[in-house]
């Protein structure tokens, strides 16, 4: 993705604070609606996954909860910029709940979780009205306000979080200083669970670090969680970049080191009160420590043992019951899609139609030329070219049609929400199974049906 230089034609020119944006044109709202719809769609899917995890294994993926929180957070920020108070306020309340969940202040058994779906649904309703340019949706705004009151009443008093200062952790203060509140919570929560804490340092060429880092992070996620990814200048700051990954895993640092056999990558336990163990950075390429000395299996084992003891001490000092650590999804979602206005695709489709007419004209001329003895040769050549054009046109037509296709699942996602609400209201287990949700239909057919 290249840098996007600013342009005078920028759609959102002059947009800004609520006071300045309330009079903004519908065009700007369209920009908001397009991004907000994408966010809402992801939220519905993620909430559905959350519900499945709660009612399935009972273990909830923290990345999933954080992702839903970030969605509500983004929605709130965007709504605020466009002066859309009701959507902003509703998103704010949803964000509060999600913040409480991700920071462990609200339990996953809390009934307030059941209201998340409804809240997101209300935001979607307000968005639909906004999209349709319906300014007289007072009833929906009132419904939103009533819902906010309901949410506030349902939110439990926040639990106070532990105030330990990560004593016993051998982590550079620069890394601890850059942890967000959420990341601090994840670290604390994993210590409480008695998981292994490790630091993975890896150096990359700055021009191409993403692929290597992504591979490294994925490998870590197969056995644990990446709490933080802190970049710092490499030994050659002009061309290199170093990343320190603070990770929590179910395996000790020795086993993690075996799994992360990448160049210029060092793994060490961050749970150590033993300075010798704390500084044992093993060079994966040379098998030497930082001082250049040959490492022995015995000293590594001692380090691991010291780390294990420290981990036990730290975990036992946290006043909570250990629970089974969850398996963490190894894949991080990376968006590789672009959002395109459907009208642009319509224009493309029209152009394809016009090209087909032109192609027919060319075919007619080619046939005519082929029929005359004097121009037969050129006529045959033109016919060949026309057939080649025909094939490419068909591919183009199929490609444009393909872009317009969306999975049928979208229509039925609302049913999932109805089922979840039924499950909550009736207190019964209700299952809903979709088959063939990936079947694709043209967006114009799916939209009216949804």
């Amino acid at each position: 993705m290249a840098a996007k230089k600013s342009s005078a034609k920028r759609k959102a020119k002059g947009a800004g604070a609520a006071k300045a944006t309330k009079t903004k044109a519908k065009k700007d709202n369209r920009e908001f609606v397009a991004e907000a719809e994408e966010i809402l769609e992801a939220m519905f899917q993620d909430l559905s996954d959350l519900e499945e995890q709660r009612h399935g294994s009972g273990e909830v993926d923290p990345d999933l909860v954080n992702r839903i929180f970030r969605s509500a957070h983004s929605l709130k920020g965007l709504a605020g910029m466009f002066g859309l108070d009701a959507i902003g306020e509703l998103s704010h309340r949803l964000e509060d709940i999600l913040d409480g969940l991700r920071l462990g202040r609200i339990s996953f058994d809390s009934p307030v979780i059941g209201l998340l779906d409804e809240g997101v649904g209300l935001v979607a309703t307000l968005m639909t009205k906004l999209k349709e340019g319906d300014s007289s949706h007072d009833a929906d705004v009132q419904a939103a306000h009533a819902f906010i009151v309901q949410l506030e009443a349902a939110i439990e008093a926040p639990k106070t979080s532990a105030s330990d200062e990560f004593e016993g952790l051998d982590i550079d203060s620069s890394l601890l200083r850059a942890l967000t509140e959420y990341e601090e919570h994840r670290l604390r929560e994993n210590i409480r669970r008695g998981r292994h804490i490790a630091l993975v340092d890896s150096t990359f060429e700055i021009a191409a670090f993403e692929e290597g880092l992504s591979e490294l992070s994925s490998a870590v996620r197969e056995v644990g969680e990446v709490v933080s990814t802190l970049p710092s200048p490499g030994d050659a700051p002009e061309s290199q970049i170093r990343f320190s990954l603070l990770v929590v895993t179910d395996i000790d640092s020795d086993r993690l080191r075996e799994r992360l056999d990448y160049p210029d990558t060092h793994v060490r336990s961050a749970l150590s009160t033993d300075p010798a163990a704390g500084s044992s950075k093993l060079d994966r390429e040379t098998g030497t420590d930082e001082g250049g000395g040959q490492r022995t299996g015995t000293s590594e084992s001692r380090d691991a043992q010291a780390g294990d003891e420290a981990r036990r001490d730290l975990a036992s000092s946290a006043s909570s019951v250990r629970t089974e650590a969850p398996e963490i999804d190894s894949l991080r979602s990376i968006s590789d899609t672009v959002r395109v206005d459907i009208r642009k695709l319509d224009e493309l489709m029209n152009l394809v139609g016009e090209l087909v007419i032109s192609r027919n004209a060319i075919t007619g001329i080619a046939n005519q030329l082929a029929g005359e003895s004097q121009t037969a040769r050129i006529g045959v050549e033109l016919t060949k070219a026309s057939k080649s054009l025909d094939r490419k046109l068909k591919e183009l037509q199929s490609g444009v049609l393909d872009v317009r296709m969306v999975p049928l699942r979208q229509i039925f996602e609302k049913l999932s929400r109805v089922v979840r609400r039924l499950r909550r209201d009736l207190g019964k287990e209700v299952g809903l199974e979709f088959v063939g949700g990936d079947t694709e239909l043209d967006k114009l057919i799916v939209e009216p049906a949804s």
């Binding site: 600013s6 005078a8 609520a18 300045a20 620069s174 200083r177 850059a178 880092l213 710092s232 002009e238």
Partner: protein
């Protein structure tokens, strides 16, 4: 020409930040990064005069980006503005402690953002 790097994962918010900063009274070139990683790749390419960053982003967060910039001799003097949605006081304090020069809450007032940026750019010119 003042070169400003905007780091923000929301396309709409990036657009709003950029359009606000285009109206500075000085000529500006705005480069937009849609993630912290993209910002790390863009930083060596230009001599930026100012960086505006969000905190909550999917790959590295804004605090980690601020920490990186302040640790790097080449970028240590670049003025930094965090523009984040109202949230954790703690994250805000951390951002300032890590070396951000200003912190603004979304929804931000474009006039106020411009004023903060103008002041920081003027300070940088004086330092030079």
């Amino acid at each position: 020409m003042q070169r400003i790097l905007i780091v923000e994962d929301s396309a709409t918010m990036r657009s709003l930040l950029a359009s606000s900063l285009e109206e500075l009274e000085v000529p500006v070139k705005i480069v937009e990064a849609e993630s912290g990683f993209e910002a790390l790749r863009f930083l060596p390419r230009e001599d930026f005069d100012l960086v505006v960053t969000d905190i909550n982003m999917p790959d590295i967060n804004g605090l980690e980006l601020v920490s990186f910039i302040r640790q790097n001799k080449k970028y240590v003097d670049i003025p930094l503005v965090i523009v984040s949605t109202e949230g954790s006081e703690r994250d805000r304090d951390k951002g300032l402690q890590l070396g951000a020069d200003a912190y603004m809450v979304k929804p931000f007032d474009p006039d106020m953002l411009r004023q903060v940026v103008i002041d920081l750019l003027a300070g940088r010119r004086e330092e030079r």
